[in-house]
C-alpha cells in the first residue's frame, strides 16, 4: 500500500472474512457453560474443523463510559469496580493512577505499598479463578473447588478485613487508599503467602503436569509473537509467546521499581504456555507481596486531597498491569468535577478479538480450550 520497502509482519490471512461460509453452524452461547458469562461465538465448521468464528458481544453492556461523564471522579471508582469484577482492585488503581497523574498529587509511601499488596493479592485471586474455570473447561472439576473455593476465599477474607467488601472493593482512592490495614492484617498476609507456595505445588501435581491436561493444551491455539503484538494482546497471553512485556517493568508505576521480580515467559504461545505463565505469575506475586511487606513502614495512607476537587483542564492516560493485561484509563477533563470523556482500554476486549483468527483451523473440542485460555471477563469486554 503506502510503503513498498517495508515487509509487513502481519500475514494477510490474519484478517478475518465475514462472509458466512457453508458448513455446520454452531452458536456457542450466550447460555453455554463454557463461555464464562454471556459471550456468544458463532462458529461455522467443516466437519470437525472450524472455518470461521465470530464473537458476538454486548450482552452485558452497561454504558460505563457514558455514565462516567455524569459522575464526579470519586464516584467513578465505584463504576470501575464493575468492569473486571474478578480484579476490582486493579481497576480502581488504574483509574486513580490516571486522575493522580493529571492532578500531579503525591501519594504516601505506605499507601503505595498497600496498593501493591492488594493488587498482587488480587492478581493471585484472579488467576485462581482462571485456574479453576480452565480446569472445568478441560473437564477437571476438582481444581475449581480447590483454587476458587479455598485459596481465593482466603484472599477475599483478607480484602474483607481491609475494606469491608469481598468483590467490589472501592478501596484504592484518588490520593491513596481508603483505610490503613487493620492490626494483624500483615501477619495474616504473610501466613497466606507462606501457605500459598505449598498450594501452588498442589496445583502443579493436580493439573499443570497432568498428562491428559498437557495433551489437551500443548500445541493447541498457538499464537506467534508478531501476531500477538499486532492484535494488541497484552498480559499473560502475550508473555506466553515468549515476549517479555509487563507494564510493571516497561512503564513502572507505584513503587514497582523498588521491587525485584521476574517476568515469566512461555515458549510457543499455546494454551499450556498461557496457563503456565499465569501459574508462574502467582509465584512472582507472592515474592512481590513478601518484599512489599518487608519494605512497608508505618505512615499516612491518604495524600493531601480536598474533599471536592477539580481536575485541571487537559488529558491523561495511565495504565497498569492488570491480571488480564494492560488496563488503561484515558481521561479528558474540562475542569469540571466530572470528566469530559473517559475511555477505558480493557485488556479482555482487545484480547478477545484474536479469537476471530485464532480459532480458525482447530477442532471443535479445541475451541473451548482456546477460549478458556484467553481468560476474559465479560464485565470488562462489554463494559
Amino acid at each position: 500500500m503506502a510503503n513498498e520497502t517495508t515487509v509487513p509482519t502481519v500475514a494477510p490471512e490474519v484478517f478475518p472474512q465475514v462472509a458466512p461460509e457453508k458448513g455446520m453452524f454452531i452458536s456457542l452461547g450466550p447460555q453455554h457453560p463454557s463461555t464464562h458469562g454471556v459471550l456468544r461465538v458463532a462458529i461455522t465448521t467443516d466437519g470437525e474443523i472450524v472455518t470461521s468464528a465470530q464473537p458476538d458481544l454486548g450482552y452485558l453492556h452497561r454504558a460505563t463510559e457514558k455514565l462516567a461523564e455524569k459522575r464526579t471522579y470519586p464516584q467513578i471508582i465505584v463504576l470501575t469496580d464493575r468492569l473486571d469484577y474478578l480484579a476490582a482492585m486493579t481497576n480502581n488503581w488504574s483509574f486513580c493512577l490516571a486522575v493522580e497523574k493529571m492532578m500531579a498529587v503525591a501519594i504516601p509511601e505506605r499507601a503505595d505499598y498497600l496498593r501493591i499488596i492488594v493488587g498482587e493479592l488480587q492478581r493471585i485471586a484472579s488467576h485462581c479463578v482462571f485456574l479453576g474455570t480452565y480446569g472445568i473447561d478441560i473437564g477437571a472439576f476438582t481444581p475449581f473447588l480447590v483454587a476458587f473455593g479455598r485459596e481465593r476465599e482466603r484472599i477475599l477474607d483478607l480484602f474483607e478485613e481491609i475494606c469491608g467488601a469481598r468483590l467490589t472493593y472501592n478501596y484504592i482512592r484518588i490520593g491513596g487508599v481508603m483505610a490503613d490495614a487493620p492490626e494483624g492484617w500483615e501477619a495474616k498476609v504473610r501466613k497466606f503467602v507462606k501457605e500459598m507456595w505449598g498450594h501452588l505445588k498442589e496445583y502443579d501435581t493436580l493439573l499443570t503436569y497432568n498428562p491428559i491436561f498437557m495433551d489437551r493444551t500443548q500445541n493447541i491455539g498457538k499464537m506467534s509473537q508478531e501476531m500477538a503484538i499486532a492484535w494488541g494482546i497484552t498480559g499473560p497471553n502475550l508473555r506466553a509467546t515468549g515476549f517479555k512485556a509487563d507494564v510493571r517493568k516497561d512503564d513502572p508505576y507505584g513503587l514497582y521499581s523498588k521491587i525485584s521480580f521476574d517476568i515469566p515467559v512461555g515458549k510457543q504461545g499455546d494454551c499450556w504456555d498461557r496457563y503456565w505463565v499465569r501459574i508462574q505469575e502467582m509465584r512472582e506475586s507472592l515474592k512481590i507481596i513478601d518484599q512489599a511487606l518487608d519494605q512497608m513502614q508505618p505512615g499516612d495512607t491518604m495524600g493531601k486531597i480536598a474533599k471536592t476537587f477539580r481536575v485541571p483542564v487537559g488529558e491523561g492516560y495511565a495504565h497498569l498491569e492488570a491480571p488480564r493485561g494492560d488496563l488503561g484509563f484515558y481521561i479528558v477533563s474540562d475542569g469540571t468535577p466530572s470528566p469530559y470523556r473517559m475511555h477505558i482500554r480493557p485488556p479482555s476486549f482487545v484480547n478477545l478479538q484474536i479469537l476471530q483468527v485464532l480459532l480458525k483451523g482447530w477442532k471443535v473440542s479445541d475451541v473451548i480450550a482456546i477460549l478458556g485460555s484467553i481468560d476474559i471477563v465479560l464485565g470488562e469486554v462489554d463494559r
Binding site: 454504558a63 485541571p312 476486549f349
Partner: protein, 157 residues
C-alpha cells in the same frame, strides 16, 4: 528515542506535520502529540509502524472525543522495541458524515476498537471490512457517546 527525535524523524518524511504544543497549566503526559489530517493518516501509520527507527508496533488504544463542534480521534501508539510512545490526533469537522480511514490494516487490533467508536460515536472508518455495531443492538438509534445524544424515553421515564 525522545519526543524531539521522534518528531524530527517523522518530519523528515512528512514536513507538514505539526506537534500539538502543551498549553501552560494543561494536564498532559509527556508523550509526543501529533495532529494528523484524515487524508494522511493511513500513510503515516504505515510509516511509523514499519520504520525501523520508530517501529510503533503496538497500538495501545483508539478512541474518540466529541468536542461539540468537531470530533477528535485519538491513537495511542507504543513501540515494544524502543519503549517510546506517540499520540496521533485526527480532527473530523464533518459532524453529519464523519469519516476517517481505517488503520485496522496496519494494526489488526484496531478492528474492534474502531467498531466500538462507530457504535458509540458514529464515526465511519473507510475501508473497515466489518463496520457494524459491536456492543449495542444492531437496530439502536443514535450514537450514545455524542454530546448531543438524547436518549429515547423508555417506559421507566
Amino acid at each position: 528515542m525522545t519526543a524531539a527525535e521522534i518528531l524530527s524523524t517523522i518530519q523528515a518524511k512528512y514536513p507538514g506535520l505539526q506537534e500539538i504544543p502543551k498549553v501552560l497549566g494543561q494536564a498532559r503526559g509527556d508523550e509526543l502529540y501529533l495532529s494528523v489530517s484524515a487524508a494522511e493518516l493511513h500513510a503515516l501509520c504505515q510509516f511509523v509502524r514499519f520504520d525501523p527507527g520508530l517501529s510503533f508496533d503496538y497500538l495501545s488504544f483508539v478512541t474518540s472525543v466529541d468536542w461539540k463542534t468537531h470530533f477528535e480521534v485519538v491513537y495511542y501508539l507504543v513501540s515494544t522495541l524502543h519503549k517510546h510512545k506517540l499520540v496521533l490526533k485526527v480532527k473530523v469537522e464533518d459532524r453529519t458524515n464523519p469519516e476517517v480511514p481505517t488503520i485496522s490494516t496496519v494494526w489488526p487490533t484496531a478492528d474492534w476498537q474502531e467498531r466500538e467508536i462507530y457504535d458509540m460515536m458514529g464515526i465511519k472508518f473507510k475501508g473497515h471490512y466489518n463496520l457494524r455495531r459491536i456492543l449495542l443492538p444492531d437496530d439502536w438509534e443514535g450514537f450514545p457517546l455524542r454530546k448531543d445524544y438524547a436518549p429515547k424515553p423508555d417506559r421507566y421515564d
